[in-house]
Amino acid sequence: MQEIIQLTINGLLQGGIYSLISIGLTLIFGVTRIVNFAHGEFLMLAMYGTFFLFQLAGIDPYLSLLIVTPILFILGLCSERLVIHPILNAPSFMQIFATVGLSVALQNAALFFWTADYRSVKTSYAGLTIPAGDLLISFARLMAFVAAVLISYGVFLYLKKTYAGRAIRAVAQNRTAATLMGINIRRIYFFTFGLGTALVGIAGALLMPIYYVFPTVGGLFVLTAFVVVVLGGLGNLTGAFFGGLIIGLVESFSGFYVATQLKEAVYFVIFILVLLLKPSGLYGIVGAEEMGEK
């Protein structure tokens, strides 16, 4: 029983990290329908930013959020203007190649400037665990989890309550109808890309006390994030949040009961099954999966 509770906690905390990364991606994928392979590289850049702020200026990772997030927002806007904007009407495959190109360039620019060394921040709370009975809970992971909850809820409210948020949701649901309602979809794409990138910037700062940063760190997360996004339903924040938790739990349990090396295979199989059996995901709109063409 003890074992199951600990596995559940580990799974949920790991899942929180996946949710955190996927929220930005689901916004971008859901609204622009662009498979953004560079999402992981934005995470990597945010982690490097947090690392250098800590190393050179001694700014705590949780405080550096305030600096890293706006920088990533601007970086997202620039990438949209330079790379995504010109190819918005290209076939989806071309778009994938453009984001793969962006991802390769960013990854190797990091390799060029900062070498392949693994770096981490040595905070006072690194490795700090909160004992709860016989259970152990990592402080930094708990922080990431709490942040995932807060951010999901915050963005959810933003999309629900504000005018801009409603416009974003309208574009995600039906581009044609949104255009007919007078929404400037190009501007929505531009802004959403920045917003999604800013969200992964938050994720990067929160992950820095937990993970090492190195140029290919984004690759570890980006495919998982796509699994989460499709599982949760495109452009659906609630879906991305719970999808992340589910994948975290799957990983934790299959890693323990099946084999650690197979946990990825397990969630890729789940991914394929979801695509084939319920392509709209847990919370998606039925038929939304064909919107790549619309």
Binding site: R33, I34, F97, A98, V100, G101
Partner: protein, 337 residues
């Protein structure tokens, strides 16, 4: 079936092609520099694999980024059979083709229901699963340590000391892929494929059995890709899951026809003959002191190609000739809806 091939040689393009072929056949007799021969082998290798991808990806518009699955499956089937049963690699190649074709049919059938980015993501997932399994079953596949193929030179064992025999083999294979693609391009089957690429629903309503046509193209593409996998294994004499099943490999296979011109038989050859030397040269110029710089340039080139020449190199010529382009109709469809 032969008629389109014969017709091709009534035009100057056909003679140019033959002259190039002859030059490649004579090359090993003149050049001994192993780097040059290796470069030509890689150019032909990627031309062949880009061509194999192009059959389903270019003609059929089913844009897979999971072709490394077929590539690795062919290589692993052949090498494992050779290792455990002593089966000759040539026979192993045939078995690999059969296994890969069956696998290709089995995964393609459900995936074809998916469209756009979802199809692409599903194909990536399949290749990833194979990579993880090949890493996991260590006792059988030697896991991430990889398998070094025991050396036993000779034509019978598909293993040579010199580069020249490899060059001839890959030249014949690339030619085979080209001929298959060319025949598809000019056949009824090819027109079906191109029709459903442009508009699946319209093709279906004209009486084309979409699923069957796509399945056939996927199996041909998978089988040819598996031959490429076997060639690569026998050329490098080493296989391991990360290089065999890697996403980078899948991307490369798709990139070649995209650079040259998708959905044409000659496109992948042009793509590979431009891109492969460029990559090798960039790597040898910048690879040494500046880690990563060559790939930064590669990534930027990729973005620029997508933005400025989405039709590939052939597209540039077509535009000049004022011919009607094929792909923009898909783009227009995108804008329209």
């Amino acid at each position: 079936m032969i008629r389109p091939l014969v017709q091709a040689f009534r035009e100057p393009k056909g003679y140019l092609f033959l002259a190039g072929l002859l030059a490649l056949f004579l090359l090993p007799l003149i050049v001994e520099n192993p780097f040059v021969l290796h470069l030509v082998i890689m150019m032909l290798f990627y031309a062949a694999l880009g061509g194999a991808w192009n059959i389903i990806g270019g003609f059929g518009g089913q844009l897979s980024l999971g072709h490394a699955a077929f590539f690795g499956l062919g290589a692993y089937t052949c090498v494992l059979l050779h290792l455990y049963t002593g089966l000759n690699p040539w026979a192993g190649m045939v078995v690999g083709m059969v296994v890969t074709s069956l696998f290709g049919a089995a995964i393609s059938y459900p995936c074809f229901r998916l469209r756009g980015p979802f199809f692409t993501l599903a194909t990536i997932a399949f290749a990833e699963v194979l990579r993880i399994l090949a890493t996991y079953f260590k006792d059988f596949t030697k896991g991430s340590t990889g398998i070094t193929i025991p050396q036993n030179m000779g034509l019978a064992n598909f293993m040579f000391k010199e580069k020249a025999p490899y060059l001839y083999i890959i030249l014949i294979f690339a030619l085979l892929v080209f001929v298959v693609s060319y025949l598809i391009e000019k056949s009824r089957f090819g027109y079906y494929l191109q029709a459903l690429r442009e508009d699946e629903d319209a093709a279906e309503s004209l009486g084309i059995n979409n699923t069957w046509v796509k399945l056939k193209a996927a199996v041909i593409s998978a089988a040819l890709t598996s031959i490429g996998g076997v060639f690569y294994a026998q050329y490098i004499l080493f296989i391991e899951p990360y290089s065999e099943f890697s996403l980078d490999m899948s991307i490369q296979f798709a990139l070649i026809p995209m650079i040259g011109g998708m959905g044409t038989a000659i496109g992948p050859i042009i793509g590979s003959f431009v891109l492969t030397p460029l990559q090798e040269l960039l790597r040898s110029w910048l690879g040494g002191g500046f880690a990563g710089l060559y790939l930064v340039i590669y990534g930027i080139i990729l973005v620029l190609v997508v933005i400025f020449m989405p039709q590939g190199i052939l597209g540039l010529f077509k535009r000049r000739e004022g011919e009607k382009e094929t792909l923009p109709s898909a783009e227009e469809a995108n804008i329209r809806s």
